[in-house]
């Protein structure tokens, strides 16, 4: 498929946006349909494959034993990584993590971390000596915009089916044996908006991201909290616009959470 963006494509997206329309016929507040498959990759402790429109993302969780950080001897940790590799789009290159990769990984990370969905103290094995670190890495397989939300959905789905490894007396992992599930206390989900032609739309495609003046992501929980926000790329929002997007995010994320729970095997 042609993935280069022409000036003409962008002006079309902007013209439509001004009339409150979009190229794929969606309304401005409408997410693309998504599907989730979980527990597909057997070497991972938890995994998910998400198709959001034509965006495809896979996420996997590896849980390892490590030493706790000296300043938090009673806590384990999580780590989130993202890879937007050349497999997913002709624009991406291999090499050290790009700024975009780091940003999307950190925003997804904060959404989960700050919501206190995972109790880090429960990830402690022995104070100051051993703890669990849950690594969630997600990979773009086909990139057609909004890797923030796709990564967030894939990450949450993967965490939801993650199993805790079992330890022997020497705190070494026993292969292929598990000790229950990783417990999640909240279900934070990101919702991402862009401003195109002065209008705000949710879940941008690749083309809409290219045409966007500004981007805004907010992670919301089912019990009415926001756990992370990020404004991205040039351009700006007014305070009213931020308020409006947050209100919409709660509605959209609730809908997405319902869909997600239906599709995730528990």
């Amino acid at each position: 498929m042609r993935t280069t963006v022409l000036e003409y494509d962008l002006s079309k997206v902007i013209e439509l946006a001004k009339q409150g329309k979009r190229l794929d016929g969606r309304t401005l507040d409408q997410m693309r349909d998504f599907t989730i498959e979980t527990d597909k990759y057997k070497n991972a402790e938890g995994s998910a494959r998400v198709l959001l429109g034509q965006t495809e993302v896979i996420a996997g969780i590896k849980i390892a034993v490590d030493k706790p950080y000296p300043d938090n001897p009673d806590e384990g940790a999580i780590s989130v990584g993202a890879e937007l590799g050349p497999l997913a789009h002709s624009e991406y290159e291999s090499g050290p993590p790009s700024l975009d990769e780091i940003e999307v990984a950190r925003v997804v990370d904060r959404g989960i971390r700050e919501s206190k969905a995972i109790d880090f103290e429960k990830l402690c094995i022995k104070s100051g000596e051993a703890c669990w670190i849950a690594f969630m890495d997600f990979y773009a397989i086909n990139a057609d915009g909004n890797l923030f939300d796709a990564g967030s959905i894939a990450g949450l789905a993967a965490f939801l089916n993650a199993k805790m490894p079992k330890l022997n007396e020497k705190n070494k992992i026993i292969k292929h044996e598990y000790a229950g599930k990783l417990e999640l206390k909240r279900l934070p989900l990101l919702t991402t908006f862009v401003k195109v032609g002065g209008k705000i739309m949710v879940d941008p495609t690749y083309l809409e991201e290219k045409a966007a003046e500004a981007r805004y992501s907010v992670a919301t929980t089912e019990d009415g909290f926001m756990s992370a926000m990020q404004k991205g790329i040039g351009g700006s929002f007014t305070a009213e616009e931020i308020n409006l997007m947050v209100d919409k995010a709660f509605v959209i994320a609730t809908e997405n959470r319902k869909k997600l729970l239906k599709m995730v095997k528990n």
């Binding site: 498929m1 042609r2 993935t3 597909k40 990759y41 057997k42 070497n43 991972a44 402790e45 995994s47 034509q54 495809e56 896979i58 996997g60 969780i61 590896k62 390892a64 990584g81 890879e83 590799g85 050349p86 497999l87 997913a88 789009h89 002709s90 291999s94 050290p96 993590p97 690594f135 890495d137 990979y139 397989i141 086909n142 990139a143 057609d144 292969k175």
Partner: protein, 289 residues
Amino acid sequence: MSGKQRDDAPDYKKEKKRVDGRKMDELRPLSIKVGVLPNADGSAYLEWGQNKVYAAVFGPREALPKHTQNPYKAVVKVNYRMTTFSVPERKQPRPNRRDYEISKVLGEALDKAVFTEQFPNTEIGVFVEVVDSNAGSRVACLTAASCALADAGIPMRDLVAATGVGKAFNELIVDLNKEEEDASDAVDIPIGILPNSEEIVLFQMDGLLKKEELDKILPMAMKACKQVYEVQKKALQEKYKLTELSEANVEAGIAGKENAKNVSQVKEAKQEKESKKETKEVKAKKVKK
């Protein structure tokens, strides 16, 4: 890897079955789907036992930076990568020496299959991502990559069909799994061929092997690769078959109302297409995008 031979290793002589119940020359279940990634020019998704890999092809496109260009032919550049969660112990995200070596040998294997001389100064980017693994991921990638190249409509002499062969628990076997690869006497030979000419384009080995054993293994490898080849062809035919819908379109579009006899011509053309598939050159007809 696991040091000593296990005591509970199955008695092959008695049962003639392997750890996972397979026969000596039996492949793990293999399935391939082509055209799975809309952004890529050609793509494939392959599941082979527990191995799961994606392959995407971009190009031929201008090779950059410029000094990588070859004025006589296209450069087939393979990027073999594994996700952090594709192995039992988390892999570091950045590519390691193994990733680079495999990328190199896979590129060199595909180079022989592609008519590279038709695209001077260009690069054909082949990106393979292992998302789940259990021994034999490089041959899985090579198999998927050649399907993706065909899906991209790149002219090729033949597909590259690959498999692992070798020795474990004192038996010569095909398509080793992880447990067999970790046997104390394990010999692992990833091998890739052009099935029609039986030319070998990928060959690696590690382990201790006698010449007589190699003599026995090579015919087993050829036979196994040809089984892989059948699956590859089927996957490509699956995408590029003449569907009933398109047949109806052809009828309505070309034949017109008064020319009902052309329906039989369409059927003949279809049969002719079938027989063409038998010919040596494998060319996937690319639908104009």
